[in-house]
Subunit: 320 residues, 2 copies
């Protein structure tokens, strides 16, 4: 393999000059530029990018931590980040954790080792203090409300959003409202839980533990919720569903079992994925591209912790 010194020799210039030509530095005479370019072409020279990385201490690589890649929520988030990265000539290193803490630690260690310039964590398992301790090595951006912490974030205020959605359902006459959620831990979930409980209290409603369906991620989980509903004596009249996929499953399950939507059960969902459009599901739109863009922007700028709130938008369709 030819290296920069070979090219310098061939072109009759110094290594510095070759480097300048490669990096479009202005102060190189035309003749040397063409001599270097000719040599590069002749020997099909390509700089060893790892040497560049070592020398510059940067890799133009940004780590993206997701629990799964095949879930539409994360797929869309990745797509949003990927598109922002494209524009800035950055590449993404995908770190799929399956929610295993060791994998998340590996991602943090990649930041420490300077294998990535920044780290975007779309969903976290590690505790705050661990993540904070790694933030000295480079920007870490989270996708959850971290205003109480020293880590940057692009987030949706799920307390506010959930409250808004619950109020909306309440105004439509619903008093028996339940919700489905993915995992129970995590900032987003606890914000939602808090909003739910506060809503019940301020409207003097009873807490029904079996109105809450946890670990619902997928269409099939949604069908399962619908089947559960059938067996309930005192069924909720409305459900807040934290993913369009789950909502689509519930809707399908209801239809198959003769439960009318929205008359027997109102469904309000999250995300506004294509499936919700097709199935006319009322949903709260998350602007994934905007989120992805902001996450990337923060990863790029780094330095001080910043917090970007993103607003959701209610899209009224036919399930409420």
């Amino acid at each position: 393999m030819t290296n920069i010194r070979d090219i310098a020799k061939m072109a009759g210039v110094s290594v510095t000059t070759v480097s300048r030509v490669i990096n479009n530095h202005p102060y190189v005479s035309e003749e040397k530029v063409s001599a270097v370019k000719a040599a590069i072409k002749k020997f099909n020279y390509h700089r060893n990018i790892n040497a560049v990385h070592l020398s510059k201490g940067k890799t133009h690589l940004i780590g993206v931590v997701v629990p799964f890649s095949n879930h539409p929520y994360f797929g869309l988030l990745i797509e949003g980040i990927a598109n922002a990265a494209l524009d800035h000539n950055y590449k993404l290193v995908l770190i799929q954790t399956n929610y295993e803490e060791t994998k998340e630690m590996e991602a943090l260690r990649m930041l420490e080792d300077k294998q990535i310039d920044a780290l975007i964590i779309c969903s976290r398992i590690c505790p705050w203090d661990v993540i904070e301790s790694y933030s000295v090595y480079g920007p870490i951006i989270l996708c959850e409300d971290s205003r109480n912490n020293k880590i940057s974030s692009t987030f949706i205020d799920h307390y506010k959003t959930f409250t808004m959605a619950l109020d909306y359902l309440y105004q439509k006459g619903h008093q028996q409202i339940g919700y489905t959620i993915g995992r129970q831990t995590g900032t987003n979930s606890s914000q939602r839980d808090a909003a739910y409980k506060d809503f019940l209290i301020s409207n003097a409603l009873c807490f029904e533990p079996n109105y809450i369906f946890t670990n619902r991620f997928d269409v099939e989980d949604g069908v399962n919720v619908a089947e559960h509903l059938l067996d309930m004596k005192n069924r909720p009249t409305a459900l807040l569903v934290t993913s369009d996929q789950v909502a689509a499953g519930i809707l399908t399950g209801c239809r198959e079992n003769g439960l009318a939507v929205p008359d027997d059960l109102a469904i309000m969902s999250f995300d506004n994925q294509p499936i919700s459009r097709v199935m006319h599901i009322t949903t709260l739109e998350i602007p994934f591209f905007e989120v992805g863009k902001k996450l990337f922007q923060q990863a790029l700028n780094g330095k001080e912790a910043a917090h970007e709130e993103v607003q959701v938008r209610l899209i009224e369709r036919k399930t409420v």
Copy 2:
């Protein structure tokens, strides 16, 4: 930042010995091992991974080219590859092309620059000869039948599969069979097209150009197909659909418009994604995890071109 030489000095050993300790080389005495480990701990030393990459000429990074990240097909493929990568301590660099040739070229150039050890292309736009010309720089693996080329692949024989599916529909009494497909170009599509045309000929059926729906990727495209169908005088009685998402859309569209499935229209789909299970769509299962695993395996082994065929499996449900 402390480097390996600092640690060597602190521990009173040579740089080589430090390197040996880090890499668990056997020939180091216990006392030196502990001295080095102590120094590493004391100074919180972490080796600069970019120096390792430069020195070794490897990055433990594998590039994965996809047109989109948010499509369930690619999401599942990525998930399969990511899981295989996890087991082997490799990381994935996600290169989203949006089917732009320049982006795919960038991925090839990353291989040339040694930024990635291998490249998996899930869907390709560049012509064969271009891809072949880059295969000298490292393993390139494709996700399409490349038995005619010098590039490795894990693939599904779409000619065989399509033929099988068409025969199945024919045996069920269908003579007016159409199909939907994503993009028209590409090996997979032309194999399918060839299978379709051969099927028509060998069964003495007429070619109806408007039985073919191109550029159908998503649920919404599926709904659109259903709406198209309504306007047709001489409607197909069965449709082969190359994605569960599209099939779900068609099914939804049919139901909304009073077209009975399978009586008015039979639907046979591909992938066996969760949505097809929930909606009881008859589909041809693609074993994504197996595909992902094999793709990764080939990327790892590299060297000579190899071809791995993967079989699909018919899953009979309620749409045929």
